[in-house]
Amino acid sequence: MKNHIRLSLYIFLTPVLLWLLLLIVIPHIELLIMSLKGTDDLGDPVWTLANYRHFFTEQIYWYTFVRTAVYAMLTTVLTFVVTFPVAFYITKVVSVRLSGFLTIVLLMPFWVSELVRVYGWMILLRESGVINHLLISSGLMNTPIEMLYNDISMMMGLVYTSMLFMAVPLISSLEGMDDSIIEAAHDLGASPPTIFCKIIIPYAAPGITSGSIVVFMLALGNYLTPTLMGGKNSLWFTEQIYNEFIASFNWNQGAAFGFLLLALSSIIIWAGLKLTRQELGRALS
């Protein structure tokens, strides 16, 4: 009996360990090692901090890094603001029969590849796009304007592609909330803003945290939306990583950038979990 149990432990443990060691742990150690290497004047490999020094001395890298972080946070906040009313409407306001239907319809677009969704926005917004065509043919405008390739369109794209990851945890946490709590507050004379701040938000806090973590991480690591919707000067940090790897073929520099991005996302996620006193396991499931 005892032997059987030990045997099953090893059978389950081996593939999991192989997966985590070979594909997660070792590659990230390698990433760190590569970021600390460079070549000296003779072209021989040496240990160096030059890749990191380069990051801090070149203003453009710094600027892009901070910009990416700030915009990713802004995306997270905006995504929350846009999706929260919808999640609240679906779970608390609309009739129960309609609520199931609305949820299904809400999830549908997100099964479709991100690339297709971004492409859809491109043909809507660009200079020869559908919106410009409609505005001109209806006589509201005379000349087409470029609505794509700026920060606003990029932010809109980022919010659009991450809404699902906010909506699902919000809906599931609000679904668990007993309506009578809100009714009680209402009967005791609380105004809607008070109910919202003192009851609904604290109750939905776990859902808000897990949604925010995922949205932030996805926005920070997004490559498609900033390159396609932000245009030439979108300056997203993943683009710098891509350029170092594919265009300049400077893998050491790229590894340093990658490690910095990883550190930033880990620190912010960790801080988010600490501030709301949650564990990663609970936030993800």
Partner: protein
């Protein structure tokens, strides 16, 4: 404020308008993409010049439809093959992980569980470059010490499979664990008391119980892999997957063929989504 409280007219109306606008925002890009796949124009834009199936069926010389476009068709096949292997591998390892973390006891279990969750919060780009770096270093090492050239360690089909597998497995692990937690251990104990071995119990009792979760997570794993861009971007070799291939086309200017591909993707994923939902509903009712 909520459905059981007396409604406030202005509030309800404003809320309704917001919801309508939201759903419009949600569907506008997809609907436009689909419509323009059938427009008889050389650019994916208005005005509407009439209905055509050219972007699916045409066989040159002026227009080449999707079904005659070698590069797009072969990238669909590559994506399907990648997704097939990724879902098989990740469902296998993810399920083993679920058994490991739900039913076994060993030292450092919490630490290992934490590690198993991290792939979902590591940006996909980082996973891609770190696996690329490691494969490359290993390749150089084998070449220098043993004179072996291992194609697997260069950007290639299998490297993409490994890269996607590395984080999709965590997703499967979470879904299967959730189902396993609902499992009644007394069923297992009964079988063990009646003389079944641990593996007979898993094969005849636990796995059939897990079946809906295995199928559901397998389907989502397939879709996640089929649509993955960030991790794949750095690991892809000469066999490009569909998202990469589409990206290159979109970046270099667009033709309605992209709309045709998108139309097929939207229709097929919607069908898959509905099937998954219906199956999920039935499971909940059980």
């Amino acid at each position: 404020m909520i459905r059981t409280l007396p409604p406030h007219k202005g509030y309800t109306l404003a809320f309704r308008i917001y919801i309508v606008l939201f759903y419009l925002f949600l569907f506008a890009p997809l609907i436009i993409t689909c419509i323009l796949a059938f427009n008889d124009s050389n650019f994916p834009s208005l005005p509407w010049k009439g209905f055509t199936l050219d972007w699916f069926m045409a066989d040159g010389p002026d227009r080449i439809g999707l079904f005659h476009d070698r590069s797009n068709l072969s990238s669909i096949v590559v994506s399907a093959q990648t997704a097939f292997w990724v879902s098989i591998l990740s469902v296998t390892v993810g399920t083993m992980g679920a058994f490991l973390f739900e039913q076994e006891e060993f030292p450092a279990k919490r630490g290992l569980y934490f590690l198993a969750l991290t792939p979902l919060v590591i940006p996909g780009v980082i996973l891609g470059i770190s696996i690329l770096l490691t494969a490359n270093s290993l390749g150089i090492y084998f070449e220098d010490t043993f004179g072996l050239d291992i194609p697997l360690l260069r950007p290639s089909f299998w490297l993409v499979v490994l890269g996607q597998f590395s984080f999709i497995t965590t997703f499967v692990l979470l879904v299967v664990s959730a189902r396993l937690r609902k499992f009644d251990p007394s069923l297992e104990e009964a079988a063990l008391n009646l003389g079944a071995t641990r593996f007979e119990v898993i094969r005849c009792i636990t796995l059939p119980f897990l079946r809906p979760a295995l199928i559901g997570s397998g389907a989502v794993a397939f879709l996640m892999s089929f649509e993955n861009f960030n991790t794949t971007l750095f690991l892809v070799g000469s066999e490009t997957t569909l998202p990469i291939n589409l990206y290159l086309q979109v970046r270099d200017g667009s033709t309605p063929i992209i709309n045709a591909v998108s139309f097929l993707l939207i229709v097929s994923t919607s069908i898959l989504a509905v099937i998954n939902l219906v199956a999920g509903k039935r499971e909940n009712r059980e």
